[in-house]
Symmetry: D2
Subunit: 331 residues, 4 copies
């Protein structure tokens, strides 16, 4: 039996974690503030985990989590993609206080964009794919005369790979490089695991709490967050997979909690021991269950499209002179 298997429901999304908490408590979640906004092509949800109580309730650190939901991510309409890039840019900008991270009143902050994930595993390749479309300027910036620098900020980027490819904890690589280049902000992009397959490829999450690579697979890896990096860290993620275990678990819950059983029966069913459920999950998914993932058939193309949307949004958010209209001039 795979020791890394996490039989409990897992989600990287604060939005889902919050819904699950509401389900459990049956009402409001203390210490968490939620704000929703419906735009033409997207719905924005801003979840603020205000204190330790809220953090424990939803299992996510104190901080801000912004979710952009849109079916437009799935389609291939470039006009809609450009709109989503713009919406994303605005939300990203709301999480960055450029004046505060500026190293000196006359100097622009250096931004270090980290593309997490494994380029050899399609649904995990979002981070590297974003970097394929990102405007990298730090090396040009250093050589440019001040009058040409105006309107651009120094951006550098790295796709470090994953532990299995490098033999080094990803957070260690980032920290080592950060010690050399002394950035003022880290933006880390990663593919996420959702709890609900509805979320696949229709959600972008931004947060100012950082990220723990591999957390979705029950691994205890060093996080990339403001504490470990000693720097502001913004995490950007898109759910591209649901663990097969999560889906099987859901299916069982649907039956057990559905209206096909009387309240008395349900009461009894609640006592099916976790052990039984584990055994049944094992029957269905087999010994490699921990490595089985659910993803949409078109995930290869999706990663390309969402990678472009996020890269475009970062470009617009971090460079004052780049707007959605003139973005293409800079690429």
């Amino acid at each position: 039996m795979n020791r890394d298997v996490n039989y409990n429901v897992y989600t990287d999304l604060a939005l889902e974690a919050h819904s699950l908490a509401i389900e459990r408590t049956g009402g409001e979640v203390q210490g968490v503030k939620v704000n929703e906004e419906q735009l033409e092509n997207a719905k924005i949800t801003r979840i603020e985990v205000m204190n330790e109580q809220g953090a424990q309730a939803i299992g996510k650190p104190v901080g801000i989590y912004i979710t952009i939901e849109s079916e437009g991510l799935k389609g291939q309409n470039r006009v809609v993609h450009d709109q989503l890039s713009e919406i994303f840019a605005k939300q990203l900008a709301s999480l960055i206080d450029f004046d505060r991270i500026r190293p000196h009143p006359n100097l622009e902050p250096t931004i270090f964009v980290v593309g997490l994930g494994n380029w050899n595993a399609t649904p995990d390749a979002l981070g590297p794919q974003v970097l394929n479309n990102l405007m990298v300027t730090r090396h040009l910036y250093q050589e440019a005369p001040p009058e040409l620098r105006k309107g651009l900020r120094p951006v550098c980027a790295l796709s470090p790979g994953v532990l299995g490819l490098t033999g080094v904890q990803t957070a260690e690589i980032i920290r080592g490089v950060a010690q050399m280049i002394k950035p003022d902000l880290i933006i880390a992009i990663d593919a996420l695991a959702a709890q609900n397959s509805h979320r696949l490829a229709n959600t972008i999450q931004l947060s100012n709490t950082g990220i723990a690579p591999g957390s979705g697979i029950g691994k205890n890896r060093m996080a990339i967050n403001p504490e470990t990096m000693n720097l502001p860290v913004i995490a950007i993620g898109v759910p591209t997979v649901v663990h097969a275990i999560t889906i099987v678990n859901d299916a069982m819950e649907q039956i057990l909690k559905g209206d096909i059983f009387s309240p008395t029966e349900k009461e009894r069913l609640r006592h099916i021991e976790q052990k039984d459920k584990k055994r049944m999950i094992g029957n269905i998914l087999g010994p490699y269950m921990g490595s089985l993932i659910v993803s949409p058939k078109g995930v290869d193309e999706l990663i390309l499209d969402v990678g472009r949307i996020i890269a475009g949004g970062i470009n617009v958010a971090v460079h004052p002179d780049i707007t959605p209209d003139n973005l293409s001039l800079y690429l």
Copy 2:
């Protein structure tokens, strides 16, 4: 609701279809002969569907289905891979009667290898990947003097793509090309959908009944088989995905048929209408359920490895002078 969704259990594997038939009938399946052989690294099962009765019982056409099962496909041990290539070559050769397909007593038969599937969708890219490693000789053969031809047979190859990429039914493309090059045998390779996730990446199926592209997604496409091609057709497949619907269905069945209910309860549960089940599956998987697939995380690498194993096996099986030992001399 997606009209293409197939709520019934679907499998491309005769082995699974046979097991399901045994489960249904509770005993032997008429018209089907099964023979098993255990080798050191692999188990070979030969299923012969002998007549229409057998065909209906397991839902697969009359013909021979050979299954090679081995956990070694999953590993990355090249020695084991080479052994599996050799085992596969032997089974493939058992399905080809070179003397019978020879166009003339003095001429070697031309073999047309078709790599089905979508190179832009990793788990569906097995066919194109096999062709990356196949020895293609037809053009050299035609130019070579007879004394140099000895020991090699003319092999040609095509990866036609899928309907969504070409706008043309794959079988039409194959037939059109076959009319030009007049091959004596078609070997078609495709990624398959299994019913049980245990099968993912541990099974190779060979059959002499051909293949129907897209059958796993409930599409009614023109088959590539001896009837439509007017030629012997050997199909080779490896299960790389399970439909998410299949897994959810399995999970529900595990609960409903498991030993947590009394026989009376089970009797009642049997009457849960199909409609209810569909609704619950919809709740879990959402509107895009038909496009959700379950695959192992390492499927990108797996496709590369299995593609090499199958290509090596075809090379050995079709060219008299190539043996597992000297295969590498020819690549």
Copy 3:
């Protein structure tokens, strides 16, 4: 010594062939009409080879050759790329008479787009890359009710690969598939070899004379042209390589014909036998000279960009309802 080596200057571009002819004859080329137009971002040259005399003079078949030259192909400005797509679409449309190729007054013609070249060799992968961005509609068209078909034409597509990958002449594959789907027009895209490295990635050539795969490497392959296909054929090409032999030859010519020698000396140098030149080329390039190509370092990215430009242009040119402004709605 490689027997496939072509020591003479070779070019796929009518524009270059015409310049070379002018150089040789010292003046106008009979049987060839040339028309130039300067646009903001591009220069259009329309060369009409009017008769056999013109065809022999420039070594290209009778027909129309349109060249679009723009440094904008090289850059990464998406706005300029969109303009080039539009310019290209207009030139492509000028070569197609939809009313004439219509199979029936009430039926739209079927267009078969062929992406020639080898997807495993970057500078040769233009054709397959165009197909990655092409709108393929034939299969949807057949299923769509007539009122929804309006404004779109049935387009199908194939990337057949190259002889070394398939063992079949590419023209045979195309012809076989064409016999099944009965298109009314073939559009074939291929990467080209230029004579002058200035042309790399700044030129698109369109012609109504078809294409001969492998002609740049001195191979005598079956052409894909109106005669062999019994159909109108439009060829689209972009020079992505110059043969190393061509460049070495140029370098020698620069010295020999440059102003560092007196007329008498030049006269003598003209008698350097071809054999000497061959020997020197052999000294420089070695035995594999025929397989050495010159390409820009950024050719990987260039193929992606130009592939998108051409695909967008085809989409606009063949579907009446698609315009540059709404193109993205259809992708």
Copy 4:
């Protein structure tokens, strides 16, 4: 005019630099010791630059340069590839003194393998490709009990990308990561530029002097060598390109120095000013000359093959228990 253009003959290969020095001096090169060995499938040349005099003579730092030349790199014979892997492993091992780099008598040294180059530019992708096939063990090693560690050494790996992709000097990234993981040896792999196209894909160079990324393009980048890293650094390289400028220059030299001119004429020709030559090179290659490279058509496949050969050789050289015979058991 491109300021980065290097009009002088450039080569990354000590073997070529040595030949050029011999040509210039007309005899032996002081301060350089050369030793050749002919094996069945390969020729080994060991060049030792013994002092500053030798370093200046050939333009390479003091140290050892080993060259393995074999036409077998080009072919696709896996048996020959395995032999080359073994030969390479032996030469690599000759450059490493494991006992000396051991951090403690009871501890195995940690080896940090760096795959330099740009994965988006095929001929520059050798470094990243080697890492695709490398056995990475550091993370397993740390978790393994001592008895299981025996026979393996901790290996970690990084493909940092290039300055244009990251905005950070590659040496800075390596140094930052090295400060975190404290390796005892760095092995850096990079694609090289040769001076002579005969060398393309038939040569592997190893040296203990490190590497300067981008040196072939006239850029002054921070080196990855024992001085900058404060660690032993072994560099491994394979020439995959020749700069187009180099080839054009060669072609001119062939003419000017060939036997078609009398000694008096040659004397005069020697005075063709560098300026004239530059102008002529500009005529032939155009303004983007600095970015034009010559490579074999099959470079995509070559990078895959050579990447496997080098990775296999590193695996054998650094892990005591891995031999060429059992290598595949570990992959």
